[in-house]
Amino acid sequence: MRYLILLKGNRPATPPPPELMGAIAKLGEEASAAGALLDTAGLSPSSAGARVGLYGGRLSVTDGPFAEAKETISYAVYQVRDKEEAVEWANRFLRLHRDLWPEWEGEADVLKVMGPEDFTAPA
């Protein structure tokens, strides 16, 4: 099954330490080599984006930044055998932040991508 992991957090005033960026690259390499990580990229701050809304029958477009306290920082798509494996990859990612960038706080949403297993009756 496939999971989308969205990393959300504050953006500390200081830039991420180079050791963290190196460790993230290495983890990504490991996860790709393990056949689990299918796709990933960092996301620019929401000030570079926009939000298209539909409320009360009216379309609206609002330029970023969004009002939320947390920014969405990156996405990753994992192919795993169950939710726990996806959670473990997210854990590994956050452990790197814990160990290498103590100022950072945030969370990773682990969302299941619908797949064939969601449409067929279990045997």
Partner: protein
């Protein structure tokens, strides 16, 4: 907010790490069976400790470090035992490797490669290679493998035990193959992975979910191998082929479970991410003509066509010409016949199909029937479809072939 459940965390970390742990242990203790036992010991220690001490800060490193300690203990016991044997004059002096501990820190990737070359060793029958590879590199339980292959768990258990014994008795070293054997040995590894993939691809609706999951296991192994042996174009060819075939999974079965032929599939349901990955893997085979790279190139022609009628059959026919050259087989010839006919040369396709020797193969008659019909030779076409209907054991196919026969005037 809750802290992670140690049992669930351990189960997940174990699945992700067990292949690396077994691989490292196997190199150290030079025995796959013992390596697996030590890995199990490690798991048991974690099961005891984690619920009491909490999940370690770095669970994967904790497991690897614990496993290495088990290995050193086991080797010490072994050398003490051999030392004692020697003292009573019954064995050669022990050869204790002074670099055991240092050697344990070697790059783990090479260990995985050594392990997969060992579990796919040609000394084992193919079904044993498959079971042992799924067990040790896929981290699947005996029960999961049995469910995937629709056989009793005891059968798989025996298969794995026998395979480990064969490797020990034949003194198969856990190492990379010598250069003279490298290409045959790699072919065996690729074959095992593709066998696993095809078993999953052949799963039908209502099967245990472990069966289609084999496709993902094979993809995982293929991607792993591509990372370990990036200089081998056929590894990328196999990965490309599997990614591209897997991209059609959601589109290849109707709601009632019946298969949908490639030309009739709703291509919007093809998995774009897997196609993109497949095409990227295929790009790494450029300029090579191995059987997997060629089959992947053919699959890519289909993947690139937004509609069935956009398919570049001329290019597919060329690729089948090459494939028939490097890896000839009656099935390849039959597919080549279809491709040539679809490329606008039905008479030539029919001639190729005429040379295919596949006795009692319904699909061959059906292909001939189809090509004869395209050439306006209805009577002969009808006979071929009738023959195909009589030969097939699949009710749905029989229906289809009979219908085609009835459409044609005698």
């Amino acid at each position: 907010m809750t802290s992670p459940d140690p049992h669930r965390t351990l189960a997940a970390v174990w699945r992700l790490e067990s292949a690396r742990i077994v691989a490292t242990l196997a190199r150290t203790v030079r025995d796959i069976g013992l390596a697996e036992e030590l890995a199990q010991d490690t798991m048991v220690i974690a099961l005891e400790r984690w619920p009491v001490d909490g999940v370690p800060d770095h669970p994967a490193s904790w497991l690897m470090a614990t496993a290495k300690h088990r290995a050193i203990d086991a080797l010490r016991r072994q050398s003490t035992y051999q030392q004692k044997l020697h003292e009573v004059g019954r064995a050669t002096p022990p050869s204790v490797d002074p670099d055991i501990a240092a050697g344990l820190d070697d790059y783990v990737g090479d260990d995985l490669l050594r392990l997969i070359f060992t579990t796919c060793h040609p000394v084992l029958p193919p079904e044993a290679r498959v079971a042992l590879t799924l067990r040790l590199l896929g981290g699947l339980s005996t029960d999961q493998i049995a469910r995937a292959y629709l056989v009793p768990e005891a059968t798989i258990g025996k298969r794995i035990t026998r395979a480990k014994r064969t490797l020990a008795e034949r003194r198969i070293p856990i190492e990379l193959p010598p250069p003279a054997e490298a290409s045959d040995r790699l072919a065996s590894v690729l074959e095992v992975i593709y066998l696993i993939f095809n078993e999953g691809y052949a799963a039908t609706a209502g099967d245990d979910w472990m069966r289609p999951a084999l496709c993902n296991e094979a993809l995982r192994l293929g991607r792993l191998l591509a990372g370990l042996a990036p200089a081998e174009p056929e590894v990328h060819g196999l990965v490309a082929l599997m990614e591209l075939q897997a991209s059609r999974t959601a589109a290849r079965t109707a709601a009632d479970g019946s298969p949908i032929l490639l030309q009739d599939q709703d291509r919007r349901r093809w998995d774009r991410l897997l196609i993109r990955r497949g095409l990227a893997a295929l790009a790494r085979t450029e300029g090579t003509f191995g059987p997997y790279a060629l089959q992947a190139a053919i699959a890519a022609c289909h993947a690139r066509a937004a509609r069935a009628e956009d398919t570049d059959w001329t290019h597919i026919a060329e690729l089948y010409d090459l494939l028939a050259h490097v890896s000839p087989s009656p099935i390849v010839e039959l597919n080549r016949a279809v491709a040539v006919a679809n490329a606008g040369r039905p008479a030539e396709g029919l001639a190729i199909a005429g040379g295919v020797d596949l006795p009692q193969y319904a699909l061959l008659s059906a292909v001939r029937g189809d090509l004869l019909a395209r050439l306006g030779r209805d009577g002969e076409a009808r006979q071929e479809f009738e023959r195909a209907a009589a030969m097939t054991r699949n009710a749905r196919e029989r229906q289809l072939f009979t219908a085609r026969a009835q459409e044609l005037s005698p």
